[in-house]
């Protein structure tokens, strides 16, 4: 089942913060975050494997709430280079199963 991302799109000015959410109606075993710039391949950001886990990558961090079956990606003090589409992916079952990606959140950072 495809995870649901919100918002679908967001526009920020440089230096502003944003939160992107990823939720599922099924149990989440792990959450994978990728960023895709226009016309390019998706690039890995981070994986969260355990409930309550938080990770950071530059000024981008994420949390994983296993009970609520959701993950949030936090972008602080956004830069122009953060523009792109952010996807979360979750395995559709426990164990070593393929990822199902959400529809993505398009982030545009303007000067």
């Amino acid at each position: 089942q495809q995870p649901v991302q919100s918002p679908q799109a967001v526009i920020l000015r440089e230096g502003e913060d944003a939160v992107i959410n990823c939720s599922s109606s099924k149990a989440l075993y792990s959450v994978h975050w990728y960023r895709q710039k226009h016309g390019e391949a998706p690039v890995f950001l981070m994986i969260l494997l355990k409930g309550g886990e938080q990770k950071g990558h530059e000024k981008i961090s994420a949390s994983f709430n296993e009970k609520k079956q959701q993950s949030s990606l936090y972008l602080t003090a956004s830069q122009l280079s953060y523009s792109g589409t952010y996807f979360c992916g979750t395995p559709h079952n426990s164990g070593n199963t393929p990822l199902v990606f959400g529809k993505g959140t398009r982030l545009s950072v303007i000067a």
Partner: protein
């Protein structure tokens, strides 16, 4: 370290024609994935290989799509015959092991079916 290589980068064909895409994963990566990404959507898994065996092909339209990974290294994805709705970017990715694991994506092949 060289990344995932794909060719061609762009392909335009007419419906009912056939087309093939090639992927060379990162050296040593056991797992290879083919995804279809329609404009404005997230990548959708078509098939996953571990070495030269198929792990998951449940979303591969087997009446027209086929894929192989001979010798557990590079892979080809074929569409025969193509339909208009096959227009998409076809992404290949590889990872050292099975999910959950970081996937490294290639640049993709943009297919346009007229």
């Amino acid at each position: 370290e060289a990344g995932v290589a794909q060719s061609p980068r762009y392909k335009i064909i007419e419906k009912r024609q056939s087309v093939a895409f090639w992927c060379n994963p990162i050296s040593g990566h056991a797992t290879l994935y083919w995804y279809q990404q329609i404009l404005g959507q997230g990548p959708k898994l078509l098939i996953q290989f571990q070495n030269n065996g198929v792990v998951d092909d449940s979303q591969l339209p087997k009446d027209r799509f086929s894929a192989e990974r001979l010798k557990g290294v590079d892979s080809t994805l074929k569409i025969q015959p193509a339909k208009l709705e096959d227009s998409a970017v076809y992404l290949c990715a590889s990872s050292p092991g099975l999910s959950p694991d970081t996937q490294y994506f290639g640049p993709g092949t943009r297919l346009t079916v007229l």
